[in-house]
């Protein structure tokens, strides 16, 4: 049973479907292949985590499409929300 859903293989963020604490494992499948990362922060249920390191100014991808820009560097397993992601590049 996975605790994270990835919508598209191009995605750099995904939705955790249960609350995750920093240090806990986040597991998900892409094309049937299991992957695991470690949460670097607490992530609330249905909020997003970074599936890879994301650099400040990088496009953030969900649904295989751009959902905004990273406002700062985001670590793999980090919590992605309004504090580090915005529609506009600042």
């Amino acid at each position: 049973m996975y605790n994270c859903l990835v919508i598209n293989e191009k995605d750099t963020v995904a939705t955790v479907i249960a609350p995750v604490k920093a240090g806990e494992e986040i597991s998900y499948a892409i094309n049937g292949k299991e992957n695991k990362i470690i949460a670097s922060e607490d992530i609330p249920k249905f909020h997003k985590t970074a599936l890879c390191d994301i650099k400040k100014g990088d496009i953030v991808i969900k649904y295989g499409c751009k959902i905004g820009y990273a406002l700062c560097d985001i670590k793999k397993g980090g919590y992605v929300h309004t504090q580090n992601l915005d529609s506009k590049m600042n």
Binding site: Y2, K66, I67, H81, T82
Partner: protein
């Protein structure tokens, strides 16, 4: 495939048989409510506009109100005017007559000598209509006459993962049966241009689609505001949606995969001969969006939510579905359908889609949705300008 519906004198097919008490303006609204309260089953539309408005807003109001009267779920309408409003009762009746030959009466409060005298006249009209409406027999009508409105509100990340794809499955089924499905909420198409434009049947439709999306955001910029400061909402963000693009990419799943055959303005009449998936230019505010699609001729709305919402409409049934198991448990009073099994991995989208389609057909055939059983009748209308 058939459903049981009411064939109207104007040829359209309804799934409910309402008497509509329709106030021209906010000043006539309380008298209209007073009339409706005396006639069991009559539906009253609270109208917050109708006066002190710019020409563009007068046109929006006339389109929506006349569209309500022409909606096939309505048997007949009693228009209630005050006297001095921009939406004159005679003007509204003219606009209704241009759309339908169904029963129509009107009463003007000051001409009648006040609310109680106007109510006496209005109640007489509505009661007579109610008796006539009760004589209507349901008949078999082909599913291709369904105009199906899709809506999402109080979205959260489960909307894009579960409830919207489930609704998209049903939307595709309606289109496959020869019907019309409407995708609305232009604010929530921002960021999906590259996906939706190639789905348009030709360049003209694609251009119209791209124009309404651009105009929507430009409108806020024109007033020194940002669409993205108000959308996503506080609740969307609390639920885990961060940007408007993320919200939009989830939203458009409710429109399935069919090609887009036409783009309509706010509250414009849907052409019954132009089948398939169509887009209507409405704001992201759920109630105002639903009002426009009902005015356009939709007989039923399916509304997805992640945060939970009680919304209902007086003219058409609104079925609500969620992919969020906690919100379903919290708001069973209001939400009709639980699609959260898709998130939990216990159900597939097509499986939930089939279940939802079954519920949709039952509601089309007369079963009440929860908002309908509660008698909910939310009303809002888009506008361009402040009151004059």
């Amino acid at each position: 495939m058939n459903f049981k519906g009411y064939r109207r004198t104007d040829g359209r097919a309804g799934i409910r048989n309402h008497i509509l008490i329709l106030p021209c303006s906010l000043c006539a609204s309380e008298t209209a409510r007073f009339i409706a309260s005396q006639v069991p089953g009559a539906v009253y539309i609270p109208n917050q506009g109708g006066c002190a408005m710019a020409v563009a807003d007068l046109e929006i109001t006339l389109k929506v109100l006349s569209g309500f009267a022409a909606n096939p779920n309505v048997f007949g309408t009693v228009v209630v005017g005050n006297t001095c409003e921009n939406v004159q009762a005679s003007l509204l009746c003219e606009r209704i007559r241009a759309l339908t030959n169904k029963p129509l009466e009107s009463v003007v409060i000051r001409d009648a000598g006040g609310t109680i005298k106007a109510a006496q006249i209005g109640v007489e009209y509505a009661t007579k209509m109610s008796i006539e409406a009760s004589k209507c027999k349901k008949e078999d009508i082909d599913f291709s006459e369904i105009i199906f409105a899709t809506e999402c509100g109080g979205s959260d990340p489960t909307s894009g993962l579960a409830s919207n794809p489930t609704l998209g499955y049903v939307s595709d089924k309606i289109v496959a049966l020869g019907g019309i499905s409407i995708l609305s909420e232009t604010s929530e198409l921002v960021g999906t241009e590259d996906i939706l434009a190639p789905r348009c049947v030709n360049e003209e439709v694609a251009k119209k689609l791209l124009k309404i999306i651009k105009d929507n955001e430009d409108y806020f910029t024109l007033h020194g505001e940002s669409l993205r400061d108000g959308n996503p909402s506080v609740g969307n963000k609390q639920g885990g949606i961060t940007t408007l693009e993320e919200k939009s990419l989830g939203c458009i799943h409710k429109a399935g995969t069919a090609p887009i055959t036409e783009v309509y303005g706010y509250g414009e009449q849907i052409d019954k001969n132009k089948k398939g998936l169509v887009v209507m230019d409405t704001p992201g505010q759920d109630i105002a969006s639903i009002a426009a699609m009902v005015a356009g001729g939709a007989q039923i709305v399916v509304f997805t939510t992640g945060r939970g919402t009680p919304t209902g409409n007086g003219i058409v049934p609104v079925i609500k579905i969620t992919g969020n198991n906690e919100k379903y448990a919290l708001m069973k009073d209001n939400i009709d359908f639980d699609a959260s099994g898709i998130i939990g991995g216990t159900a597939a989208i097509d499986e939930k889609g089939e279940e939802l389609f079954k519920l949709v057909t039952e509601v089309i055939n007369g079963e009440k949705s929860k908002a309908e059983a509660l008698g909910f009748n939310d009303m809002s209308m888009a506008r361009k300008c402040n009151f004059c």
